[in-house]
């Protein structure tokens, strides 16, 4: 559960269960050290919080203890040992002292909770900022290996767990342990005989709490497994709902669902029961303890002259005894989950980012001369993707790369833009190894139009301007005209000011592609990469975009990666890539004459997969 709940109240919500769904951190010490480092500036505040919590607890103990003199005085007055008038004088003093203690306690509680909100929100804010920054600067390889959901969960689940455990658990752990210690000390001070009973009960309590916690942990794990199975099935069934209807498979699907649903229910029930029984169990066990204290105390008061005030104070302490224990048990697991989350977050923050070579220079105005020399590359060392690939593109040339899925076409774009670095071989631009340039200046010389057309929330104009921040409106419109996007933009209700929703979902695939092209036109790069830019558009629509594409390619070194052969026919050179090696190279006419793989592809005699 997230910190949306606001505060959690110590002892106010005895009904809440123990949440044990979190995992354990691997290294508590180092994560804790890192977390403290991270709290940095807030450390002073944290110290204040801990002190406030400690003072508040002491006040709480003091107020419990303070009842004793009052009760004793009352008893004495009743026995006519002191006069009523004197008692009321004492009462006035007593009430003001107690009032003072209460006031401090409230102030401390207020200070502590307000500060904690600041600390945790500031920390979480900084963590999100640093995480996002890290994400943007990490190599593409990190992202390619993970799902978006996985990365998003650092920002949502992990951050929530952490802030939860900072806000609630840390200070509550301090107050609970000091409360426990203080209560025990006071008990011993009040009556060591009675304290023995409690001290005998303590290990029994701890043992039982431990048992319950470990049992519920076990059942929570099973619940987790059951729910991920159920969720997986729900996802699949929703995605395939239409297929199920078409194949008359609805009832079978519902049957399976019911089975998984029942299974989850059983585990949820067990997990909830186990975690939920902690509180009634502990409360009532404590009540047994309470009963023992009451009767033994009564016995002592009759036989050994234990004062009623002491007994009252002791009994009150007993009432408080199980609460910090419960609290500690609950916070312990929450802190564990928080630390495990912190460990995952710091793990991401420790990931290496893209850096430039120490002596890297700016690539100011490239000529657009690109060369690959004996380039080897593999994403996974077991599976080489490119092997000894060599080719070059002179300024302004159009190079097409053709091949099956997985043949390594897209890898070539990944390498030119240094999304990935190569272990062997050389990639040069203008006769310098691309590693000699700063990444930013290198990338500024190129623009990409990719198969998946993604846009940003904002106006059409903003989206075009993404290619060149600071470009004038006129320049953007000019670019749109060049890309043949002007006519459709013009027809939109608010023209260039039309706001696109998330990912521009209201535009058709073709329209989004045109905007991407306009963006690239505006960026005015020396090197252009078209990676399957038109593959999901039908041929008729494609012929409409074609003019925009031709205009875009004029005067730039262009790499066209294509699945469909139609787009590559006019290239200066066509490279046929299979299994990481260049199989054939030449222009269309030459390759047709060679009558090899390319020719057979064109004639539809063999396949690209």
């Amino acid at each position: 559960m997230s910190n949306v709940n606001g505060t959690r109240h110590t002892g106010v919500m005895p009904g809440r269960g123990v949440n044990l769904s979190g995992s354990k951190p691997k290294s508590v010490k180092s994560t804790l050290r890192e977390l403290l480092n991270y709290l940095g500036k807030s450390k002073k505040h944290l110290l204040i919080v801990f002190s406030a919590s400690l003072i508040g607890t002491l006040c709480g103990l003091a107020s419990t203890y303070a009842i004793r003199p009052l009760l004793n005085a009352l008893e004495a007055t009743l026995n006519q040992e002191i006069s009523v008038a004197r008692f009321f004088n004492q009462l006035a003093v007593f009430l003001s002292v107690l009032g003072g203690i209460y006031l401090i306690q409230v102030l401390m509680s207020w200070l502590q909770s307000q500060l904690m909100v600041q600390i945790s929100q500031n920390t979480v804010h900084r963590l999100r900022k640093d995480l996002y920054d890290r994400m943007l600067h990490m190599p593409v390889g990190y992202h390619d290996k993970r799902t978006h959901g996985e990365i998003m969960s650092h920002f949502t689940n992990d951050i929530d767990l952490l802030s939860d455990s900072i806000t609630n658990s840390m200070s509550s752990l301090v107050s609970s342990s000091s409360m426990l210690a203080g209560t025990i000390l006071m008990m011993i001070y009040l009556s060591w005989q009675l304290a023995i009973i409690t001290l005998v009960a303590l290990p029994i309590f701890t043992f039982l709490i431990n048992r319950i916690v470990s049992m519920s942990r076990k059942y929570f794990r099973r619940q987790q497994e059951a729910i991920s199975k159920l969720n997986g099935f729900v996802e699949e069934t929703m995605e395939g709902q239409q297929v199920n209807l078409l194949f008359g498979h609805e009832n079978d699907a519902l049957e399976t669902f019911d089975r998984l649903n029942k299974n989850y229910r059983t585990h949820a029930m067990r997990a909830q029961s186990w975690s939920g029984l902690m509180i009634p169990f502990m409360m009532n066990l404590n009540a047994v303890n309470y009963a023992l204290i009451a009767s033994v105390g009564g016995y002592l008061s009759v036989t050994a002259g234990l004062s009623v005030g002491t007994l009252g104070a002791f009994v009150n302490s007993t009432r408080q005894f199980s609460r910090p224990l419960n609290e500690i048990a609950m916070q312990y697991t929450s802190i564990q989950a928080g630390l495990a989350a912190a460990e995952r977050i710091f793990g991401v923050l420790k990931q290496p980012i893209e850096t430039d070579e120490p002596a890297a220079i700016e690539l100011k105005e490239s000529e657009g001369f690109v060369r690959f020399e004996n380039v080897d590359f593999a994403y996974d060392p077991q599976k080489p993707v490119l092997h000894e690939v060599s080719f070059y593109a002179k300024p302004g040339q159009k190079i097409a790369i053709v091949g099956s899925t997985g043949a390594g076409k897209t890898t070539i774009t990944n390498l030119i833009s240094r999304f990935y670095d190569i272990p062997n071989g050389n990639i040069t631009i203008d006769n310098h190894n691309i590693k000699e340039y700063t990444r930013s200046s290198l990338r500024k010389q190129m623009a990409m139009v990719l198969q998946d057309t993604h846009l940003f929330e904002g106006t059409i104009l903003d989206n075009i301007r993404y290619g060149k921040p600071g470009a004038s409106d006129e320049a953007c419109i000019e670019a749109a005209k060049l890309a043949y996007a002007h006519s459709f933009i013009h027809r939109l209700p608010e023209g260039y000011q039309t706001r696109l929703r998330f990912d521009g979902s209201e535009l058709s695939q073709g329209q989004r592609q045109l905007l991407n092209i306009a963006r690239a036109v505006l960026a005015d790069p020396k090197i252009l990469i078209l990676d399957e830019a038109t593959s999901s558009i039908d041929t008729r629509t494609e012929s409409n975009i074609e003019k925009g594409m031709d205009r875009l390619m004029e005067g730039r070194t262009t790499f066209v990666i294509a699945h469909r052969l139609s787009t590559v026919r006019h290239a200066n050179a066509i490279l046929v890539l299979e299994n990481g090696v260049i199989l054939e190279r030449g222009d269309h006419a030459e390759l047709m004459r060679q009558n090899g793989r390319y020719a057979s592809l064109v004639r539809g005699q063999s396949e690209l997969t």
Binding site: T7, M238, F247, L254, N261, M283, G312, E607
Partner: protein
């Protein structure tokens, strides 16, 4: 409220038992201080050791009993809350299963997933909490107040005022807090969206060296989330101090006032004062508990509303009450002035006045640009959508008179999107035909050109398909989808652009297999490439929701402009003539 009770009915006995148990525990807890008071006020002054022992034993027994009853209450609550959620999940799933394509789109698949999982889970934990707290808290509140009242009537005025004061304060805090939390949730959604956009566009951002710009953009959403969270949480952090102030002030008053009652009026005993303070703590604590539970409950409203939206939807596609079907389905289709639009308010039709016939056993191709309505047409034919005007006939009978299952079992579709389910290859192939023999599966695999691949796999037909078919390439998935449709063995076969991921060699193979083994069936083939369908009996040309031509390839080539354009756009590129 009433509508949800239907799903809760099954759980009522246990829920009631749980409530009863929890209530009893409250009574026990509240009796303990009274027994304690008897020890202090009666037994100790009387120096009666027997009575002390007796009361002590009673307290201990009550406590032990309370522990067991309490556990019983928790277990009952867990059983009934999870049972309620199970029922809810079942009815939601059952309903969604019957949604039309339009209804699925109107909710969106991802939202339906969230509703069935997250929302119901939230409801489940709210139910659990409520079953425990909504009984316990009010019961405790009432009993504690009553007991306090009987302990001392005069002093209970203090409790009375404390309760009113705390109620007002809690009300103010929570009603001010609710919109703040809504605001925080919105800020959170914005941040998530921003984040998602950054992830999707990572390559674009990097290629335009826009990392710093993105950081700045994120800083804004991040900052506003922090502000909203601080606002909401600071307000809620006032709850504890507020409660303390009320409790402490009342304690001070009770002590002062109580002393007077003991010494001057003589209407209160010493032990009773202690008991009274205990009851006051119980009262105010239970108010806090109650308010927390109510907030949680009110927050679950959003989830309830989202679930209700699903349950309230009456699926538009319904089985006819009286069915009428031809004795034998031969596979002839007639579209008569068929019109359809996704948005009923829209002026533009997505399918407009379609009329054409497909004879039994005829092979018909459909071609047209993206968005011309080809897939919509198939959805209408299989009643994943219902047409607005006109009539579709299968062998002369309106498809709306068919039993839905019967209709869909007569038409075998290979959908555009290659959806496979986790399980084995055999299970997936039998999706529409549970009892198909292994030989039938192999026949279909062979026809779809993937039999050699399966035969070479270690587990053959039992090879596992992962969720979403993630362990196969697009081409392989498409071939499995074709095989699945062939196993279903219906008189009508529909390919919805289902050769797109196949290379021309495989496509040729599949087509030759169709000719050899399935040519007696009616075949409707939607295609992108002219080459796929040019030898078909007739080709339906669609443009912008309308039929603009229906003839043989040769005739269309001669006199259909749209067809000519399509041919031209492909000829120039693929070297096709």
């Amino acid at each position: 409220m009433k509508r949800w009770f239907v799903y809760f009915k099954k759980e009522v006995p246990l829920a009631l038992l749980g409530t009863f148990l929890t209530g009893t525990v409250v009574l026990i807890e509240l009796t303990q201080p009274r027994l304690m008071a008897r020890i202090v006020d009666v037994a100790i002054p009387a120096q009666d050791l027997g009575m002390i022992t007796d009361l002590g034993v009673r307290m201990a027994l009550l406590a032990l009993g309370g522990a067991f009853l309490g556990i019983g209450g928790v277990v009952c609550a867990a059983i009934s809350a999870s049972g309620f959620a199970e029922t809810l999940r079942h009815v939601v799933m059952e309903k969604i299963q019957r949604f039309s394509a339009k209804e699925m789109d109107s909710f969106s698949v991802s939202s339906l997933i969230t509703r069935t999982t997250n929302d119901i889970n939230y409801i489940q934990s709210t139910m659990l909490q409520s079953l425990r707290m909504l009984v316990r808290a009010p019961m405790m509140l009432v009993t504690a107040v009553v007991m306090a009242y009987f302990t001392n009537k005069t002093l209970s005025i203090v409790i009375f005022f404390a309760v009113i004061l705390l109620s007002v304060l809690l009300y103010l805090l929570l009603s001010k807090g609710y919109p703040l939390f809504v605001g925080m949730q919105k800020a959170m959604d914005k941040m998530n969206k921003n984040l998602q956009e950054g992830l999707i566009n990572l390559r674009v951002i990097k290629s335009f060296v826009a990392e710093e710009r993105e950081n700045d953009r994120f800083a804004i959403t991040n900052e506003s989330l922090m502000k909203a969270a601080k606002k909401a949480n600071s307000l809620m952090a006032l709850l504890n101090p507020t409660m303390m102030v009320v409790l402490q002030t009342s304690t001070l008053i009770v002590m002062g006032f109580g002393s007077k009652l003991i010494l001057i009026d003589g209407t209160l005993k010493l032990g009773e004062l202690l008991v009274f303070i205990n009851y006051m703590v119980f009262t105010l604590n239970s108010m806090m508990m109650l308010s927390m539970t109510l907030t949680m409950f009110s927050r679950s409203k959003a989830s309830f509303v989202r679930i209700a939206e699903i349950l309230d939807k009456t699926p538009e596609i319904r089985n006819p009450e009286v069915t009428k079907e031809p004795v034998e389905i031969r596979g002839g289709l007639s579209f008569r002035n068929v019109s359809f639009k996704y948005q009923s308010a829209s002026n533009e039709y997505d399918l407009e006045n379609l009329s054409f016939d497909v004879l039994p056993g005829e092979h018909v191709g459909i071609i047209g640009s993206t968005g011309s309505g080809k897939t919509t047409l198939i959805r209408c034919l299989t009643r994943l959508l219902d047409i607005d005007e006109g009539e579709i006939l299968l062998d002369g009978v309106s498809i709306h008179a068919f039993d839905l299952k019967k209709l869909r079992s007569s038409i075998s579709v290979i959908p555009q999107k290659n959806v496979l389910f986790s399980g084995t290859i055999a299970e997936n192939l039998r999706w529409g035909n549970r009892d198909a023999k292994d030989e039938a599966l192999w026949l279909a695999l062979n026809a779809s050109g993937i039999a050699p691949f399966v035969r070479n796999s270690q587990n053959q037909l039992d090879t596992v398909i992962q969720q979403g078919g993630a362990n196969f390439s697009g081409g392989q998935k498409q071939r499995f989808c074709i095989a699945r449709a062939l196993v279903k063995d219906s008189p009508i076969l529909v390919f919805d652009d289902s050769m797109s991921a196949l290379d021309s060699a495989t496509e040729t193979w599949v087509k030759s297999q169709l000719d050899a083994h399935y040519s007696h069936k009616t075949i409707v083939m939607i295609a992108q490439k002219i080459s796929t369908i040019k030898d078909y009996d007739r080709i339906l040309v669609m443009d912008d929701g309308k039929v603009v031509g229906y003839d043989t390839h040769a005739n269309l080539l001669e006199n259909n402009t749209v067809y000519q354009e399509i041919v031209a756009s492909q000829a120039q590129k693929e070297g096709f003539a």
